[in-house]
């Protein structure tokens, strides 16, 4: 550099505040929101062949969302004080809206699941439509948690909530495809060949839908990176960290190549009718999204601030 050599003679280390519990929590809420949206779409379309998928996902959504906040509480330094979140709320903090959303959403998800299982179509549809904004906010706010922590260049972008939502859809559909495929392979034997064919077609359709959403995800990531690389110096550093730095293997290797491009080829390419390929693609997609959470949460904090 023009200034000549610069050496840091003395400085102190700082803690890495948010660890992978947070990333895991993002991953689980994402799965939950994704499966809820799929379930509601299935319910709204109301066709008989969508029923099984609608049912699986209706259970998955609240179940995953009960696992998710356990990660949050485990991450607290004072887990027994978690109720302070409700008693001493602060409306300027995204965590506060999160704690109320995280309470409302599973309750509504459970009621919705009961409606779906007892076959009360009307109620399920209404609840489903009401639930979608809730599902979107419950996952969207996690994006805001990162975006509003303005210190970290990798997080502080308006695209963050959308990126989180879209990747949640991807991983949610991936999970649904895996479960539906397992059901189709081992637990669907009694069905007539026609229903089995129909189920298979449905799974393939879901996988294609997933591939389109992956494309959207890739577009968002590309725009995020382009802006990072042209913005201020910290943002540039953040962009380089994930493109060529310590987090490149995870970001480029796992998230982009293994978790997006390969699944897209498997689902849209010559193997598009092959169940095994589709399931492999769905597993890869979930690994990719998990890696994305890791890169965002941990990577975002590794750029020194002082």
């Amino acid at each position: 550099m023009e200034n000549g050599d610069v050496n840091v003679i003395y400085s102190v280390q700082h803690q890495l505040p948010l660890v992978m519990y947070i990333g895991q929590y993002f991953f689980f809420t994402g799965l939950s929101a994704g499966s809820f949206v799929i379930s509601v779409i299935a319910t709204l379309l109301g066709r008989k062949e969508f029923k099984p998928i609608g049912k699986i996902t209706a259970i998955l959504a609240p179940a995953l969302l009960i696992i998710a906040p356990i990660n949050l509480i485990a991450d607290l330094e004072q887990p027994l004080r978690f109720w302070h979140l409700f008693l001493y709320y602060n409306w300027t903090s995204p965590i506060t809206y999160g704690s109320f959303l995280l309470t409302a959403y599973p309750i509504m998800g459970i009621i919705y699941a009961i409606m779906v299982y007892t076959d009360r179509q009307k109620a399920a549809k209404v609840l489903g439509i009401l639930g979608i904004p809730l599902a979107i906010s419950v996952h969207g706010y996690t994006g805001f948690i990162l975006a509003l922590a303005k210190a970290r260049a990798l997080w502080n972008t308006a695209a963050m909530p959308t990126i989180f939502l879209v990747s949640a859809m991807v991983s949610g559909i991936g999970l649904v495809v895996i479960i539906a495929a397992v059901r189709w392979k081992w637990f669907d034997k009694k069905a007539t060949p026609e229903t089995r064919d129909q189920d298979k077609k449905l799974i393939l359709q879901l996988a294609t839908f997933m591939a389109y959403i992956i494309m959207l995800d890739l577009f968002l990531i590309l725009s995020d990176i382009l802006v990072l690389l042209t913005a201020h110096s910290d943002a540039y550093e953040a962009g380089m960290l994930i493109l060529t730095g310590n987090f490149a293997p995870l970001f480029v290797g796992v998230e982009i190549i293994l978790g997006s491009i390969i699944p897209m080829i498997l689902v849209l390419g010559p193997t598009r009718k092959n169940m095994t390929a589709i399931v492999v693609a769905s597993i890869l997609v979930n690994i990719g999204v998990y890696a994305m959470r890791f890169v965002m949460v941990i990577g975002g904090q590794t750029i020194p601030l002082s």
């Binding site: 550099m1 610069v6 840091v8 948010l18 903090s93 110096s233 910290d234 590794t302 750029i303």
Partner: protein, 207 residues
């Protein structure tokens, strides 16, 4: 009369990089090993024999628009009327969102108490009419602390008659620790290029 507004000015023309402020803070606030509420950053510029060291004492800026207080979900972090940003030790749940949000890396989890702490401008001493421990200790009187709304105070006069800068003004946090004659490189995050957190060393770097 307007509210009190505590602020600090650190005059880098006087600082000799002796770490006395760090030690005073450690003792006064019982800051455990591994973490720091006040610390010193030292860099060296140039190639031997034409080198020079630059220092930068660091602590919480007790920002007027503190992002940590805005983002704290329980209002455990709050601002006093005189501008000091406090953490209520009984209310903090340790979510660490404030640490992630602070652009200055000034907060830490106390490993013994499992709650978040930082520099409070020694609020307990200030309330008793004393100066913060670091200010009192500084052998060259490089640190000046007081109510900047009181025009007769030393800090107000120093602020009025000197060119001062703050860290990361672009962050819109309105820091209340001002520096006179601080070097631009030592104020920036020069460690950016190396991932010292995961490698665990303080190191030579390329910029």
């Amino acid at each position: 009369m307007a509210n009190k507004r505590y602020a600090m000015v650190i005059d880098m023309r006087r600082c000799i990089g002796c770490h006395a402020c760090t030690v005073a803070c450690k003792a006064e606030m019982a800051v455990p090993l591994e973490v720091n509420a006040t610390w010193l950053k030292i860099i060296e510029k140039g190639t031997y024999p034409d080198t020079r060291r630059y220092y930068l004492p660091r602590m919480c800026n007790n920002c007027t628009d503190a992002i940590c207080a805005r983002n704290c979900p329980t209002k455990a972090t709050y601002k006093r009327d005189d501008g000091i940003v406090m953490v209520d030790q009984h209310r903090c749940i340790g979510c660490k969102y404030c640490i992630a949000s602070c652009p200055y890396d000034t907060r830490y989890v106390n490993p013994l108490k499992n709650i978040v702490q930082k520099c409070y401008f020694c609020s307990h001493r200030v309330d008793a009419g004393l100066q913060p421990a670091c200010v009192e200790t500084c052998p060259t009187k490089a640190m000046i602390f007081g109510d900047k709304n009181d025009t007769k105070s030393e800090v107000a006069q120093v602020l009025a008659t000197n060119a001062t800068v703050v860290l990361k003004k672009e962050m819109q946090t309105n820091p209340q620790v001002f520096y006179i004659s601080a070097d631009e490189t030592v104020m920036s995050n020069v460690e950016k290029d190396i991932n010292y957190r995961t490698e665990g060393t303080l190191i030579k770097i390329r910029i």
